[in-house]
Symmetry: C2
Subunit: 119 residues, 2 copies
Amino acid sequence: MHVNLKEKFSKFSEHWHPYIIGELNENHIKIAKVKGELIWHKHDHEDELFIVLEGTLMMDFRDKTIATKPGEILVVPKGVEHKPWTRDEEVKIMLVEPKSTKHTGDLIVEQTVTDQKWI
Amino acid sequence: MHVNLKEKFSKFSEHWHPYIIGELNENHIKIAKVKGELIWHKHDHEDELFIVLEGTLMMDFRDKTIATKPGEILVVPKGVEHKPWTRDEEVKIMLVEPKSTKHTGDLIVEQTVTDQKWI
């Protein structure tokens, strides 16, 4: 499976809506455009890998904030509360996480996408 | 876990020697510098994700060759024979694959790294 990320990103414009672009063992590979902020949440059983492709992804933890840029990666361990947000820019990210992962954790909010689709 | 890839790449120079930079559920996140060619091999039980950061990664399959560049990803499904190689350049890649994955599959050759280390 060979995927051009720019081509996939050109197919949608919503923010905080992850789309699946590949699978890897029991994980999905997803991409998303994000801007503004998501809610505080955690994933009890799943680590999440964030790869930043464009812009700066800000991630609040209860004890610190981490800025992740292109050329850097961030793994949020299972069980750890986190809240992603951005400054006034659209940020493009790629995620690798177990297929079971819900992007707003155990919370269902307005931004929650329940039918995750391939693109 | 927050990792700067450039900083990690500055710590080694060997080719075809993957180093572990993170873990994600039952997977390792690894980086490698590659140049020249590796052997034909397969992983019976593990899909492998290749993310190209610099240069062009060439991948021979029995029926085709795929060139993967920065901004593209390649997943080699379990059981599929493949042979990575490069043109006359050093290529920097990031990999995500199950912890059990051996980089030369079920073959032990001169290039096989048996003690995969964190960097």
